[in-house]
C-alpha cells in the first residue's frame, strides 16, 4: 500500500474542493430508447413507462420515467462532473471513486422526452479514515433536476468517497 502524508492528502482535498466548487448546469432530454433499455435491464414492465396512451389513461401527461432509473440516467452527469473537473495529476492520486450513499427526493413526475435542467454542485467535503488504514476524501454532491419553468422535479444528495490511500 502506498503512503501519502497528511499534507499531501490535505493538498488533494484542497484541489478537489477547488475543482468542484463551480456549479455545473446542463440540459437533458430523456430519450425513449434509453428508457426502454433501462426498463428491460431493471425489469420494469409497466406500460405507462413506454406508452403515452397508457400513461394518459392513468392520468399522466405522457409516458413516465420510472423512479427506479432516474439515478441511472443522472449517473453519467455525476461521473463527468468529477472527471472533467479534476486534473490528471489529481485523478492519478485517486485509487477509486466509491458511491457511498444517496438521499433522493421525488417532487414531481418525470416525463420521457421532456427537457430538464441538471444542476450539479459540491455541497460539502471532508476526510475519513477507513478500515485497514484506507483514507478517503468524502464529497457530497447535490444533483438537482428542474423543469424549464424552474420547478424542481428531483434531487439527489450523492455521497462519493475518493480513496486516496
Amino acid at each position: 500500500m502506498c503512503c501519502l502524508s497528511d499534507e499531501k492528502i490535505a493538498f488533494i482535498r484542497e484541489e478537489v474542493a477547488n475543482a468542484l466548487s463551480r456549479k455545473k448546469i446542463t440540459r437533458i432530454r430523456i430519450d425513449r430508447e434509453t428508457i426502454k433499455e433501462l426498463c428491460k435491464i431493471v425489469g420494469e414492465k409497466g406500460k405507462i413507462y413506454v406508452d403515452d396512451e397508457e400513461a394518459r389513461a392513468a392520468g399522466f401527461e405522457k409516458a413516465l420515467v420510472p423512479p427506479s432509473i432516474v439515478l441511472s440516467i443522472l449517473s453519467p452527469f455525476i461521473s463527468d462532473f468529477f472527471i472533467s473537473r479534476l486534473n490528471r495529476d489529481i485523478i492519478r492520486e485517486i485509487k477509486g471513486f466509491i458511491h457511498a450513499g444517496s438521499k433522493v427526493y421525488f417532487f414531481k413526475p418525470l416525463y420521457t422526452s421532456n427537457e430538464y435542467v441538471v444542476e450539479i454542485m459540491l455541497s460539502a467535503i471532508s476526510e475519513r479514515k477507513g478500515k485497514k488504514g484506507k483514507r478517503y476524501i468524502v464529497t457530497d454532491v447535490d444533483v438537482s433536476l428542474f423543469e424549464n419553468t424552474g420547478d424542481i422535479v428531483f434531487k439527489d444528495m450523492h455521497r462519493v468517497f475518493l480513496r486516496v490511500v
Partner: protein, 137 residues
C-alpha cells in the same frame, strides 16, 4: 393500489430477489456510458481489493424504487429515499430487497409511511441500508 387503512406499522414490504448477471451489468455499463473501471475492468477491481467487478450503487438502488412502487401500486408514491451502500455487490450474486413500515402518519393532509429498507445477500450480508417515505391514499 394499496390503501392507508390496509397497512400497519411493522408490516413487511414484499421482497424482491434479483441476480444481476454479467450480461446485464455489461448492458447497464453500455447504456449509462460507465467510465469508472471497477465496474467493467476485472484487473482494476481486483487491484483495489474487490473479488471481481462491482455492481454500481445506482444500479442496485434501482430495485428499491421498483419494489416500493410495485408494492403500493402507484408510480408516483415515493417522496424520498435515503440509502447507504455498505458492502459491494458482485455480478451473479443473489440479493433480496425488502423492508418494513416503521411509522404511518399524516402530515399537511397527506398520508405517509416511513419505512426501513435494506438489501441483503443470500448469506445475510447487508449491502444496502436505508429509509423511505411514501405517500399512500
Amino acid at each position: 393500489m394499496l390503501r392507508y387503512g390496509n397497512v400497519n406499522e411493522g408490516d413487511k414490504i414484499p421482497p424482491i430477489t434479483v441476480v444481476i448477471s454479467r450480461e446485464k451489468l455489461n448492458a447497464y455499463c453500455k447504456v449509462t456510458k460507465e467510465i469508472v473501471p471497477i465496474h467493467f475492468d476485472e484487473k482494476v477491481a481486483r487491484a483495489l481489493g474487490f473479488k471481481t467487478v462491482v455492481v454500481q450503487g445506482v444500479f442496485s438502488f434501482s430495485f428499491i424504487p421498483k419494489m416500493l412502487t410495485e408494492w403500493i401500486g402507484n408510480p408516483t408514491c415515493i417522496k424520498e429515499i435515503e440509502v447507504s451502500f455498505i458492502a459491494p455487490l458482485y455480478p451473479e450474486e443473489n440479493v433480496t430487497f425488502t423492508g418494513k413500515i416503521l411509522r404511518k402518519y399524516e402530515k399537511d393532509g397527506e398520508r405517509l409511511l416511513e419505512c426501513e429498507i435494506w438489501a441483503e445477500k443470500e448469506n445475510g450480508e447487508k449491502i444496502i441500508d436505508g429509509t423511505a417515505v411514501i405517500s399512500i391514499q
